[in-house]
């Protein structure tokens, strides 16, 4: 693989983005001629992997593609392995990748020569919410009480557990610290399920797990959600526990903690994809998001259902790259 193409491929990617934006009404004339590789820049069993395999299953079940699709995990180097593979596959229309926040955080934190502009944005599938959780045996009833307790306890006394280092969970923790003046000891673990269990076992004091990672423990009465890091409450009204729905969790801003963060679950192609090719995948993914299986998954995981494509999507990604740059710079997480 070579990594010298970055400037040219960035230009090409930009051109691709612009072309995509202009070509929305075009008919999907292009179709894959061989097996499509679906790269997951994370390990098996995680959130991105689940979503990729669900998409693959739905496509297979409803015959949405004539060619088969295989999911390939390339999670080495916090996803850098998968992203570099995509970057090296410039112009290959038989490869797509599902991204999470490591699209931004991995290059920023490690200095790996990769940027989202090396890719062609296809479609945002959903955004993952973040919720502040504490053990239900603790007395904290809302985010303010908890943050006050953390401040009163003194620096580094309270432990925040999260997935990975210098990734979404720690960035969000840094944002909470900046907003409130509280100071946590952040402890990185390998996966979200492990983090939730550590909170149930009281080895950490709080987490910012995604809904799907902690919902089982919430329903079992072991965890308590304090607030959701979004600008508005989640729209889901169906009761998850005896007396609460996802929609009953206040936003952190309501609870006096002005921080919000959402994680991208979106699909990209390698750089240099033609508008026809992008339109084809957009079409397939739109059909995926219409299926009952997809809707059920989205509701159970309490995802934010924002879905973007074309220029809106590219703009969103560019804006979020800036956001991550700022947050990580303030927290001192940037690669030196």
């Amino acid at each position: 693989m070579t990594y010298r193409l970055s400037f040219r491929s960035r230009l090409a990617a930009l051109a691709g983005v612009l072309l995509t934006a202009m070509s929305v009404p075009a008919l999907a004339a292009w179709e894959p001629t061989k097996t499509v590789e679906f790269i997951v820049p994370a390990g098996t069993g995680g959130g991105a992997d689940q979503m990729a395999r669900l998409i693959q299953s739905i496509i297979a079940k409803h015959n949405l593609m004539k060619q088969p699709m295989v999911v390939v995990n390339k999670g080495g180097g916090a996803g850098a392995e998968g992203f570099l593979d995509m970057k090296g596959a410039k112009g290959d229309p038989h490869k797509i990748v599902i991204t999470l926040s490591n699209l931004f955080t991995t290059p920023l934190a490690t200095g790996v020569p990769f940027n989202w502009k090396d890719l062609t944005p296809v479609r945002m599938m959903a955004l993952d919410e973040f919720v502040l959780w504490v053990n239900s045996e603790t007395p904290y009833k809302n985010a303010k009480e908890y943050v006050d307790a953390v401040k009163a306890g003194g620096a580094n006394k309270f432990k925040m557990g999260g997935t990975g280092s210098k990734q979404e969970d720690q960035i969000l923790t840094a944002a909470i610290e900046k907003q409130s003046g509280a100071k946590f000891t952040y402890i990185p673990y390998k996966g979200g399920g492990e983090v939730a269990t550590q909170l149930v076992g009281k080895h950490v004091d709080s987490t910012v797990n995604n809904p799907i990672e902690a919902v089982a423990q919430w329903r079992a009465g072991s965890l308590r959600p304090l607030c959701v890091f979004d600008t508005q409450r989640m729209p889901y009204k169906e009761k998850v526990t005896k007396d609460m729905a996802w929609g009953d969790i206040p936003t952190c801003k309501e609870a006096g903690l002005d921080a919000n963060y959402l994680m991208l679950r979106g699909i990209f192609m390698p750089g240099g994809a033609t508008p026809d090719q992008v339109a084809y995948y957009v079409g397939v993914l739109e059909k995926v998001s219409q299926t009952p299986e997809w809707k059920k998954f989205i509701e159970e995981g309490a995802f934010n259902t924002t879905a973007l494509k074309g220029k809106d999507y590219a703009d969103w990604v560019a804006k979020n790259e800036q956001l991550h740059q700022n947050l990580m710079k303030e927290a001192g997480f940037l690669a030196k």
Binding site: A60, G76, A109, G164, K190, V200, A216, F297
Partner: protein, 510 residues
Amino acid sequence: MQEIQSLIGGFQVALSWFNLMLMLAGIILGVIIGVLPGLGGANGVAILLPLTFSMASQPGGTTSAIILLSCIYWGALFGGAITSILFNIPGEPWSVATTFDGYPLAQKGRPGAALTAAFTSSFVGALVAVLLITFMAPLVAKFALRFGPPEFFAVYLLTFCAFVGMSKGSPFKTIASMMLGFALAAVGTDTVTGQLRLTYGFMELLRGFDFLIAVIGLFGIGEILLTIEEGLEFKGAKAKLDMRVVLDTWKELPRYWLTSVRSSIVGCLMGIVPGGATPASFMSYGLAKKMSPDGPKFGTGMVEGVVAPETAAHAAGTSALLPMLTLGVPGSPTAAVLLGGLLIWGLQPGPLLFVEKPDFVWGLIASMYLGNIVGLIVVLTCVPLFAAILRVPFAIIAPVILVICAIGAYTVHSSMFDVWMMLVFGVMGYAFKKLDYPMAPLVLALVLGDSAENAFRQAMLGSQGDLRAFFSNALVGTITGLALLLLFWPLISKGLEIVRGRNGSNGQGA
């Protein structure tokens, strides 16, 4: 006795012709996946996951789907031992420890005995674990919650300590080999800081050194190089090829009941905690070597040396499903993929799964009994067949093994670089053998070094650098104490001998 009623209900769900067929298909597929190095159980289950999607959307179909996938897992657990014993190439990480005595046994002309012992003890380990899941699931889940970073580190420490000092050669060579393993394990992304380490700008090194590639190279390729040097033949060719070998071995096995019991306990604990099948197999082998009266002969082809790791690996692999079902935390990489499957099918693993989906849970548990019985029958009937492979002349089988190794190394990450790495490790394995350096400490450090380091640093973050974290409660204190006791056991036993005025036994029987 409510469990027994539920279990009978589960058998009613699992015992349909369709499900039995799925079990058989799953086991056979799993054995094949287990035999091929590189294509691990996790990959195999992940590849087949989409197939189960439409199956799971029918009423009662989720049970059939999990039966198919979990049987692939059981099959892979059985299958991993086959190539370990026949060719010194572990098909799965947890069968590395099986090579230590399994391969010498095969070389002595007893491949059938080694295979029978491996399969039978796998079955025993699984049975103990399933019984545990059946009757103690809620209790055990609570126990697993008590494990935080200090406890995990203590468990890893215990594994290392159980293993240290077991090689006969120079202790300095053991330490050198283990340190090399730790160094290799440190390559790649560091979870605690998120930084890349020791990659020197080589993007191929981002993901670190995969344990499987190292093992395929060190053991498989290294062995072939040695065999080429020593003359072109396998020594196991005189093996008897009939089913009597199964019965003969079964007569021998009850002698090792103590090892079986110990290994089952170790395996179940490691599966639940969740430490995984690989450390369980190493720890169990180390303990058996220390505690068995035949300990000093381990490594020369003792049936007991096959029983110990296989029992523990299968017990751990099976009980790893317990934290997955009750807590939503996978106890092994394969369990992680199964967990993803459950979520895709619309099931929610966690404390309420037993209450809300009793049909599914008890169907799965019943299928664990049935699947393992089916598996045992399948693999045992094939023992003569597998053993017959050793009759094929080396000149024919060696290129085949080389190709399989290369494909295996490539499959792990679909990367050609890994195939070259495998060859490098092969040369290294040859050099290690020639210079009489032990390979096991390197492999152990490579597979556990990363997790042990993470647990240690997480514990230190939590305690603000206070080492007393490892003695802060009864649980972690006991494990750490046990680990230190094992580490210094040779010194302690020598001390005891001196105190007894050299009248006692030689101190190994304890």
